[in-house]
């Protein structure tokens, strides 16, 4: 079984405050735990600080899987306690660019003047460039694929015990669709990665009206996300990467309206900070 916990659900910039208490104000961070205690951390938004504070000191290895290097997905990295723990190996996976490795790209943030500590001075960090052939981390089999979002961005598909969790927090698969008509699967960004997922965590940042002025910014509307989830045939869908301007009341309404409008055949679960999903057989 995979235990998936949302530590940060917000997109673009942290949005803490009394009006975002339920859905949360931290930016993208998701914990995936295996039965054997193997720990994956998806993205290093501001939610990773709290996640890091809960990790037992006797853990030997943590893998942080970055979808891309926009600030809302890496801003918490420097505040992730295990990075400074000499007994923990931290493996960071994320996209290289055409000219720079992941490590070189991260150094732009983890170095002065943006940050006081150099990446190279942290004790036990190993960087891995993605996309790459599928790889295994403990019981997890991980697939990566570049997806539609400005700058190199990947999505992750994590398999364990016959079940799959797919994480596509920043994704605009509907970019350029004419008259809103989806193309065939082979022409749909993220299709292979997400098809048949037991749990899909997917970008749902905008309303239709907001999207009109934000085409090409790399994000989905509720309509796009619900239609994408239907096309790839997921079992459960979590709208994610909430726009910082959307308070709890607005998000409740957006999710409710979308369910009424699109009548999904899959389960829709709210993307609230602290939400836990158990995926796969319970052993």
């Amino acid at each position: 079984m995979m235990r998936v916990t949302l530590f940060g659900t917000r997109g673009s910039v942290a949005a803490p405050g009394p009006e975002t208490l339920r859905y949360g104000g931290n930016t993208s961070t998701v914990e995936v735990r295996g039965n054997d205690g193997t720990l994956l951390v998806l993205d290093a938004g501001t939610g990773i600080r709290r996640l890091g504070a809960q990790i037992p000191p006797d853990i030997a290895r943590i893998d942080v899987l970055l979808t891309h290097l926009h600030m809302d997905h890496i801003q918490g990295l420097g505040f992730f306690d295990p990075l400074y723990h000499p007994g923990i190996d931290v493996h960071i996976w994320g996209p290289a660019s055409g000219t720079l490795s992941l490590g070189a790209r991260l150094t732009r943030y983890l170095s002065p003047p943006l940050f006081p500590v150099h990446l190279r001075d942290l004790p036990r960090i190993t960087c891995h460039d993605v996309p790459c052939p599928p790889f295994d981390i403990g019981p997890f089999h991980v697939q990566t694929s570049l997806v539609c979002h400005p700058s190199p961005t990947v999505g992750y598909r994590i398999h364990a015990e016959g079940s799959a969790v797919v994480y596509l927090p920043d994704h605009e698969p509907a970019l350029g669709l004419r008259d809103g008509r989806w193309l065939e699967p082979e022409w749909t960004s993220g299709y292979d990665l997400a098809t048949g997922a037991d749990l899909l965590i997917h970008d749902a940042q905008y309303t239709d009206e907001e999207y009109e002025d934000r085409v090409g910014w790399g994000h989905s509307t509720y309509r796009h996300a619900f239609e994408f989830a239907a096309r790839v045939g997921v079992k459960e869908f979590v709208p994610f990467h909430h726009d910082p301007s959307h308070d709890d009341e607005t998000l409740d309404r957006l999710v409710g309206d979308a369910v009424q409008r699109f009548k999904p055949e899959y389960v829709v679960s709210k993307g609230c900070e602290g939400a836990v999903f158990e995926v796969g057989p319970k052993s």
Binding site: P95, A96, S97, G98, D129, P131, S145, L146, V147, C148, P152, L175, G176, L177, R178, P185, E186, W187, T188, S189, Y191, D192
Partner: protein
């Protein structure tokens, strides 16, 4: 199997251009062409779908200013597919509609972030004399 994101985005871009554009996979099979390119090929993409390399290249005859046929190995697309670099040539074509056109043809490789060769785009520019 889904196309790489670079190919998907190229198709999206092509569908918004008025420049005739053909999109091929690493073997030269035609996987998409836009509406302006339909006029050159003489057939609509909705009708043909993807086409094997031999089929779509045989839809054109190619010849130089003196009417001599241009061998396949001298075509910009062949050069791009074999050498994975841009190529250019000016020549005449006759498509399925039987009309002769003088064309400038430019081909550009689509190479991924890690140097993986994903296909090529072929731009046709008709010269009006």
């Amino acid at each position: 199997m889904a196309h790489p994101i670079q190919i998907i985005l190229t198709r999206q871009l092509a569908s918004y251009l008025s420049v005739p554009l053909f999109l091929v996979d690493p073997k030269g099979n035609l996987i998409f062409y836009n509406e302006p390119a339909e006029a050159i090929l003489g057939r609509r993409f909705d009708e043909t779908g993807a086409m094997p390399r031999e089929e779509w290249l045989s839809a054109f005859t190619r010849f130089d200013d003196e009417g001599k046929p241009i061998p396949l190995e001298d075509l910009p697309l062949t050069i791009t597919l074999t050498k994975k670099r841009p190529a250019y040539k000016r020549y005449h074509t006759r498509g399925l509609d039987g009309v002769a056109r003088q064309m400038e043809v430019t081909t550009i490789p689509i190479t991924g972030l890690q140097g993986d060769f994903l296909g090529a785009v072929v731009f046709f520019w008709e010269l009006s004399e």
